[in-house]
Symmetry: C2
């Protein structure tokens, strides 16, 4: 999540076909893993159930295997969990974030140094 006191690096990976995986979809997957519910995961991100469900449908269509398995849909807002593919994709994205952050530390520090500091205005 964004912190005004620290620089934040966000990654978006566009895959074949033009679909992408970025911080929003990754956070939604993580929320589903943690809450066991698409609705609750969306709510944590201030997202409607409809929008969260739409993103899950996109995610399930982007990969060879679905990433999220839900026991019931619709009004019941039934339970949901990550599949093995879902856990793999989330873990790979988090690893990408971590590797990219480490590999760009020098440049981020230098860009931060070159950036205006509001307190000094």
């Amino acid at each position: 999540m964004a912190d005004k006191d620290h620089p934040e690096l966000k990654l978006r990976l566009t895959l074949r076909g033009g679909e992408w995986l970025g911080p929003g979809k990754a956070d939604l997957l993580e929320g589903i893993a943690e809450t066991g519910s698409i609705s609750a995961a969306g709510k944590r991100m201030k997202m409607s159930y409809k929008r969260a469900w739409g993103l899950v449908e996109v995610l399930n269509g982007m990969f060879r295997a679905p990433l999220v398995a839900s026991s019931r849909g619709g009004a019941g807002h039934g339970g949901a969990e990550l599949t093995e593919a879902g856990r793999d994709v989330l873990q790979l994205y988090r690893q990408m974030q971590s590797n990219a952050a480490s590999a760009t530390e020098v440049e981020i520090a230098e860009l931060t140094r070159l950036a205006d500091i509001p307190e000094r205005k």
Copy 2:
């Protein structure tokens, strides 16, 4: 630029104060360096002069020193060039991209493998 046949990694760095540097602003800086004109750089990106100029104003306000120096504004659409700070910021962003791409090769290959391949549908 996006290529449907290859995965593409995009980076957005959010700095203190909430402003960010991403692929669009970096491409605009590069276009200004290459064309010597905010208008021409924007046009290459299918951007109006107004929008390109607005982004330049944001970029110039994000860092301690302006990134773009323009010899005339307004209807004349005069020449523009990157300042030393502008060249530094662009170079640092490109280095970030390159380092991040190298550091995430394994994960990108694995995510690409897990991704649906439209030709097989």
